[in-house]
């Protein structure tokens, strides 16, 4: 990789000797030239944007989370000043029962959505990789379609398919005398919300795992087939361990998506009273920031969420690495 040392250019010189040029002078200059500014100039636009739109906002959010607005002077003459209050907002986050309950709801949702999304993505990817399976192009394309549908639109479509008056599923159950399916009431709501995420996320993850499967040389399966291993055995014992990196990546994406649950419950809110305005943690944080003007509280809540994301991702990576190390032994 590191071909930036001058020796490499010098070594290449005799091969690329160009007779009609003043080769020696040019060679020594090229060999010694350190394009020291170039990589920084190439990186500059990204770094500037990164600092302005990610680093500074992040630092600002953390700073706000340690402050509070206090009235000074009292009465109508009092002015609002921002004062440092240490961890006070964080104590409020962890003593806000509504927020804690919403973290609990998100956990239930995630426990349903994440394993099913990944499980289905892996299942479909493995099926696509089985030689005897038919209608591959159609299935792959159809399962990938939801990726192109925004979360808001997905929630809107499923929302109407859950609503008793317009649901095709409830239409059938009502026709056989069972009454509508309570998609939008507890506890069915968790499954209904998770279903929207599963529908939207399976295709993309399937493609990631599938492309990873395609990268495995076919010879690896040949001897197993000759030994009489079934396609199922090959899939579980050879393919799954080899796509572990892709599975880890998709798991992290799915978990990050879970922690950012917002658009789906917000979209379904007009259709049901079961979803309150503080149903998911992000909904509470949004309310604090833009409806009740409690910016420090919102900043503390979103910092907790960011830390949660980092911890969850680190745990997934750790588990994955430990497994890889264990299987290498």
């Amino acid at each position: 990789m590191s071909l930036r040392n001058p020796g490499a250019a010098d070594a290449a010189q005799p091969v690329t000797a160009i007779p009609y040029r003043a080769a020696p002078a040019r060679a020594s200059r090229t060999g010694r030239r350190r394009p020291s500014m170039a990589p920084y100039l190439f990186s500059a636009p990204a770094i500037i944007l990164y600092v302005i739109f990610m680093l500074i906002p992040l630092a600002y959010a953390v700073w706000i989370s340690f402050t509070a607005y206090r009235l000074e002077g009292g009465g109508i003459l009092g002015t609002k000043v921002q004062v440092f209050v240490g961890l006070e907002n964080y104590f409020s986050v962890f003593s806000n029962s509504e927020l804690l309950v919403s973290f609990g709801r998100m956990a239930v949702y995630g426990v349903i959505a994440v394993p099913l999304t990944l499980g289905l993505a892996l299942l479909f990817a493995l099926l696509l990789d089985v030689p005897a399976v038919r209608a591959k192009t159609f299935s792959r394309t159809a399962i990938f379609v939801p990726y192109a549908v925004p979360g808001i639109v997905a929630a809107l479509m499923w929302g109407f398919m859950y609503l008793p008056a317009t649901s095709p599923f409830s239409y059938i159950t009502q026709a056989i005398g069972l009454g509508p399916i309570p998609f939008l009431n507890n506890p069915g709501l968790y499954g209904s919300l998770a279903n929207i995420a599963i529908w939207g996320g399976t295709g993309f993850n399937m493609i990631i795992i599938y492309t990873s499967l395609r990268g495995i040389p076919a010879e690896l399966y040949e001897s197993a087939r000759l030994d009489g291993a079934s396609e199922l055995q090959i899939a579980l014992q050879i393919k799954v361990p080899l796509v572990r990196a892709a599975l880890t990546l998709t798991a992290i994406f799915a978990l990050i998506g879970t922690l950012q649950l917002y658009a789906e419950p917000t979209t379904l809110q007009p259709l049901t009273t079961t979803i309150t305005s503080t149903w998911a943690p992000l909904m509470t944080i949004y309310q604090q920031a833009f409806a009740t003007d409690d910016l420090p509280g919102a900043a503390a809540g979103s910092t907790v969420l960011a830390l949660g994301t980092v911890i969850v991702s680190a745990v997934v990576l750790w588990i994955s690495n430990r497994r890889t190390a264990a299987s290498a032994r």
């Binding site: 739109f53 808001i152 990631i208 979103s302």
Partner: protein, 271 residues
């Protein structure tokens, strides 16, 4: 046989809501709540007329806004990501690893953690509520930068760059006429991922924008739906709008499917 059946069942599951929304878009307001949900109605033309004349043609405006945010944002994002990805893959320089891992960690920051302070900071400079407030934060994409670096690392042989240097080409010129052509497949992938990402984004424009005429489709359709609970006529519009809005993006993704190098993401390319 069973694998094929399972796979087709998955395909049907993924197509059902799409089929439903197209059927529902053909129904008049009365039919929507009265006829069997998969029975086509007779209100398609009325719904489309209603949709495109709503609030003086606002739906068309939203679609154009989405196109602007996603198109321009993804284009700029692709160039910014490609440049830094090339630098990170093909040069050795001080601070390289700090820059790369610092940016990569950005993937983990939830949108809301950034959106609130971004809104406050952009308000301070008077940009909140403007087109820029949605466009500018969309340009930086840690994931796009990661993919660009992986692709540049595998697609451009170091000898090619060295040969160009020996021909005394400047570093910018090498990037422009040697690297870019080799990076194009990777750039298309980054562009599409960013385009779909920005097009589907809801939270950022929802936080930033207050003027309805600047909304992208996602926020616009959400407003139609949330107003629908008080005036049910808007439900038909929201459904028709949903149907119309997914056509271009599904078509784009399906059409460009073969240009995607999604093996980039799974690490199929050795970087």
């Amino acid at each position: 046989m069973l694998p094929t059946i399972i796979l087709i069942a998955g395909a049907v599951y993924c197509l059902i809501p799409v089929a439903w929304v197209f059927v529902a878009a053909t129904k008049s307001r009365a039919q929507l709540f009265s006829t069997f949900t998969f029975a086509p109605g007779t209100g398609l033309i009325d719904n489309l007329r209603g949709l495109f004349t709503y609030n003086g043609g606002q739906f068309g405006q939203w679609a154009l806004n989405s196109l602007l945010y996603a198109g321009v944002g993804a284009l700029l994002s692709t160039f910014v990501s490609t440049m830094i990805g090339y630098a990170l893959a093909k040069y050795r320089f001080r601070g390289q690893n700090v820059i790369f891992y610092g940016i990569l960690a950005g993937v983990l920051i939830p949108g809301i953690t950034l959106a609130i302070p971004q809104y406050l900071l952009l308000s301070a400079v008077g940009l909140a509520g403007s087109v820029w407030s949605v466009l500018l934060p969309s340009i930086i994409s840690p994931f796009g930068i990661y993919l660009s670096r992986v692709y540049a690392g595998s697609a451009i042989p170091q000898e090619t760059i060295e040969a160009a240097r020996i021909d005394a080409a400047g570093e910018w010129r090498i990037f422009q006429s040697v690297a870019i052509p080799m990076l194009l497949p990777g750039m298309v992938t980054v562009f599409l991922l960013q385009f779909v990402g920005i097009w589907n984004n809801f939270l950022l424009p929802y936080v930033m924008l207050s003027d309805q005429s600047q909304y992208p489709l996602t926020v616009g359709l959400f407003t139609l739906l949330s107003k629908g609970s008080s005036s049910p006529a808007l439900y038909s519009l929201a459904i028709t709008g949903a149907a119309v809005s997914i056509i271009p993006l599904v078509a784009l993704v399906l059409f460009l499917q073969r240009f995607w190098r999604l093996d980039l993401i799974s690490g199929g390319i050795k970087g």
